[in-house]
Symmetry: C2
Subunit: 127 residues, 2 copies
């Protein structure tokens, strides 16, 4: 059971990031990285790993005395649902209004614009 996609919280997503970057990994390695990056205590990381397990977002495979954790939810899927959600909530589900917003806020430098243009050209080429 648990066919339903459960939400991954902000703190949990930090754990996912670590596993997406390289997995499978023992809890120890995950802890080491998150302790360094976020100052999280061991218990915190353990809790997050367990919650992710319950949510079906990761799996744990026994490897001798310990477990190796790996993501079940793909990073692309996660990123997609998060960004689509934001677009839906704030920009009528479309990208252009978001870009327009950033432009109005002067958050686009010429380099960004050039990069976007290259991207669009490439998309056209591929199609």
């Amino acid at each position: 059971m648990d066919t339903n996609p459960q939400r991954i919280s902000a703190a949990e997503s930090e754990v996912m990031k670590v596993l997406w970057a390289d997995s499978p990994k023992p809890a120890e390695d995950v802890l080491a990285i998150l302790a360094k990056d976020h100052g999280w205590a061991e218990g915190t990381v353990k809790t997050l790993l367990n919650r992710l397990l319950k949510k079906g977002a990761i799996a744990a495979d026994k490897d001798g005395r310990r477990f190796l954790y790996r993501p079940l939810v793909g990073r692309e899927d996660y990123v997609d649902s998060e960004s689509q959600g934001l677009l839906d909530r704030l920009f009528d589900g479309r990208l252009a209004p978001l870009v327009s917003h950033f432009s109005k806020r002067e958050k686009l430098n010429p380099e960004d614009i050039a990069e976007l243009r290259r991207l669009l050209d490439k998309i056209d080429d591929d199609q």
Copy 2:
């Protein structure tokens, strides 16, 4: 006190949307809209208005026996912090990777692409 910008939750943002659309408004009007759109009870809307007041996101001006509510936080600012937050969390703070992501997920139709191109051209013209 309360110089710090407090976070606006999802439900609260629905109230903000109503006030951004047209304000000032008495609670009754806000309620009417949200009851219709989301089926929220009176108490729910009152709570949300109060939380927004405490957070400093809206103001209430006495108008006879009731209050008229109006936003203090601008919609643009809200949209900006939300979208910048997402970009920072998922796309290294940059727009291009997001657009690239959408393209890979085949969420960009030719019309979207054309619109983006027009946007970029317009930005260039303005600068």
